[in-house]
Symmetry: C2
Subunit: 417 residues, 2 copies
Amino acid sequence: MTTSPFTLEALSEKLDQLATFTAPGPGVTRLVYDEHWCDAHLWLQAEARALGLAATCDAIGNLWLHDPGLMPGTRVIAVGSHLDSVRQGGRFDGAYGTIAALLLAAELRGSATPVAAFVTCEEEGSRFPMALTGVRGLLGQLVPSRCADQRDRDGVRWADALASARARGCAAEAPPDGAPVPKLFNAARQLELHIEQGPVLESMGAKLGVVDTIAGYRRVRARLTGEARHAGTTPMDRRRDALAAAAEIVLAAEALGLETGAPAVATAGGASAEPGLYNVVPGTATLLLEVRHTDDAALVRMEAALGERARAIAARRGVAIELEVQSGEAATPLSAALADQAEAMAAGMAIPYRRMASGAGHDTMAFAQDGVPALMLFTPSRLGISHHPDELTKVRDLWVAAAFARELLLAWAKDLA
Amino acid sequence: MTTSPFTLEALSEKLDQLATFTAPGPGVTRLVYDEHWCDAHLWLQAEARALGLAATCDAIGNLWLHDPGLMPGTRVIAVGSHLDSVRQGGRFDGAYGTIAALLLAAELRGSATPVAAFVTCEEEGSRFPMALTGVRGLLGQLVPSRCADQRDRDGVRWADALASARARGCAAEAPPDGAPVPKLFNAARQLELHIEQGPVLESMGAKLGVVDTIAGYRRVRARLTGEARHAGTTPMDRRRDALAAAAEIVLAAEALGLETGAPAVATAGGASAEPGLYNVVPGTATLLLEVRHTDDAALVRMEAALGERARAIAARRGVAIELEVQSGEAATPLSAALADQAEAMAAGMAIPYRRMASGAGHDTMAFAQDGVPALMLFTPSRLGISHHPDELTKVRDLWVAAAFARELLLAWAKDLA
């Protein structure tokens, strides 16, 4: 039996190693089932075995790192995160929670309730247009034959990409057509460590985020149609300017986010105007709008308010507007009881912490939606930068949350024994 | 000697014929030196000859339609417009002034001072990136060898396109390298008939625009740089949102145009934001801004005010801004004396007219800048639509201005005799 190197140095070194598995270019690009992802997957399996753990793949390439004596179907405390990245992302998003979980599973082997690390194959939706596919499979909710024909931007089918990863030993045998991915373990509780990806902890000098909710969102595309006219010959008071209407809506969205107050946010992420020439009053314009809130009723109210304001602006300007909801996700409460417990422990350990919501989606959402008592722990992100090569959390801060997680998981193991 | 058919029917019929010389697709696409332009050019030469006029090309394909007895270098009253169109433009822009000039030159042959029609080969800059090349040549200001290597979007050189038109009989021999296009006639006065391309005359029930100024403009590209951040995790009060800053600037431009009042206009014609995703606060944004005014000092003040407002908005939001002037043209006063005379005549003939500025550029600008006493007459444009297949002026309205021009040119011929 190997002794677990549950140390800051091991955490730092293994994060450095994991960051080497990337496509060329700035930052980390490790897309589900690609060669770099497979290299990382095999490396992780070897690391787990070196620490005395078994590494077991499921049918779509999720990985469990666990005590070799654990029988399939066992009730476990699940701790983990995802192996994939966005294109040209950072070294910490997903990777931190993965390495922390590897070390924690090794460290806590033999605890009162088994602690197993999970590593989802995919969370970001950065290769195929399906986010959270990994965790849905891990929870037995995904039927692979239904995703088989999704294609990446090079036209590669999801099923073919998975088959090539399987051939390299990164996934178990496929289930029969129409059957879901078989579940390997049952999560009695779930924990995910993750960088904050926002500026809140850093700006407050907090070292730990105790996350009790994941915000929901709605994405709405606004299409405005006015009149394209010669910009030199059309007097100001005779215009139906689609871009001017769009500009008012951008500011109305911002005002709505500010008025609603944290944790609400509202964003216009994209804008375009046609024909897009200096000398033509824009005839059409498009906006990409998003609202987020941790409370579902409030989210619905925000979406309605944004639509109402946008329609009023368009109507006043004689511009037609179409609002089309493109996607959305309900707000997901995590376990309040587990968050209370974590707060009390953090206070007892004198760790400067903050109870907070996550504005971004995470694998943990799917556990919570499946009824598993779930919690996330955040570390500060320098300047709030994420999904970018400049993503950075100090190793010391990563270690604070990992060491805290060790104590929390031990408490959980005792709770459930 | 042929009798001139100076009638509404002839005007209408010849406009219909000219509109048939177009590339396939909606509206009229007749780009300088292309096969449709050459067909139109040869047709126009033949029409002029059938009316007893001579048709003389200059070295770059401008055309003079004139009394065959007129010696080169003669002082003439020049009336005309341009033969080229924008891509998928209308049937009247340039064409109306061309056909009206053909009929007027034929009608007024033998007047006290010779009246000659000019047809510029190019005004729009729609094929090569050089607007007003035709009229600059007509006025002896253009050195063809300096434009030779300009290319259209298919990579065709200007000189090669011109040579192919010359081979079809649409241009005279090229001048020696470094020499300008030889001038054929000297304009003592100049008149251009044109559709308004804006909604003013129609909306006021006026039939005639007496144009005494052509507005100048400045085109400025604004480049904003904030911080691209995760839209879910970055609180509203911690953002440096480049698109929100751009939106404020769009509205500031609009407000500036409204406050300055007619004839001032200010337009944001284009906008974009990067990375342009729902879930990322835009890190950069670009705007295409344009201000126009008929008074040069006021134009300079507008440009300065727009820059000041844009910088203040960016500074307040912590967003960097670069403003780059892309192009500009000074405001060009036409002849106030000729405008006064035309006003008095229109009033005497009980034609509902309006003295006005042109917000768009025209060939007439170049004559006025060359010191030629110049004037434009506008006809109403349905809904102000132009540069579009839906461009429309009623034949009756076209005829009002043409008949008025006949009287005006007769008066000019007398003035100059």
